[in-house]
């Protein structure tokens, strides 16, 4: 059986779904027997989800306008150097 420390080391790959079947089974066996690691897995997964669901940062209009002006000034200047 996986130790808690080994579980933690594999946690990321498990969450990113890049572990092989054998390791997946060992991880899942561990969390059915270890409530602490079960909670760690669950809350880490939800941490990632809550950030993924975050409202995208809007680009304030004035910031956008200044960006467009700066880019236009640059583009009217010259071609990019192709090297």
């Amino acid at each position: 059986m996986l130790t808690c420390k080994e579980f933690l080391q594999e946690l990321n790959d498990y969450l990113d779904d890049v572990v092989d079947v054998q390791l997946r089974n060992r991880i899942e066996a561990h969390i059915t027997e270890c409530p602490n690691c079960f909670v760690i897995l669950d809350t880490t997964k939800r941490t990632i989800q809550v950030y993924k669901g975050m409202q995208p940062q809007t680009l304030p209009e004035d910031v956008h306008a200044r960006l467009i002006r700066a880019v236009e000034r640059k583009l009217s200047g010259r071609k990019p150097s192709v090297g």
Binding site: T43, Y51, P56, H64, P80
Partner: protein
Amino acid sequence: METETGIFDESALVAKAREGDAAAYSELVHRYSRKIYRLAKHITQNDEDAEDVLQETFLKGFEHLGDFHGQSKFYTWIVRIAVNESLMKLRKRKADRTVPLDEPLDTGEDTVVREIAVWDEDPEQQYSREELGNILDEAVQSLRPVFRTVFVLRDIEELSTEETAEALGISVPAVKSRLLRARLQLREKLTRFFKRKGDDVFAYL
């Protein structure tokens, strides 16, 4: 000059921009400006710096388009510029500090889990959108820049591990270990807000 950018896929856009097609480059700017701004704001934690980074990124991007050979996605390439600009801003702001920004001190402490508590069924519902945004932002802000940057690229901008490694110029194992620390630290910080009320919080080593 009018370019019907809608019909071009991205590599065609990039090729046109390299030839000096202003409309094509503007379209690329339009596509990614919001994401680059968000990224810059997350890393620099500062509006003024984020705006500087945004402008510098797209100006430098245009200057160096000749160096982009299309072996990676344009977005990954422009992200790399944005990350470098953001880290430079951070270094300037923290010039008086001695803590290096790119090499984490490996004390091992960051992967020690101190707080384990079950979360509420739907903890986000207990906060307004604004409160929730502040909680999430403050948690990210509290991470060290090396961890924050990896977390932002992987879990917010949703770059792959390989793309993140490329954008930061670090190895894949380094991305993985920094991401694990970042995720665990955030998990712990959010637990303070999201844990089920009434549960005892216990600590272990």
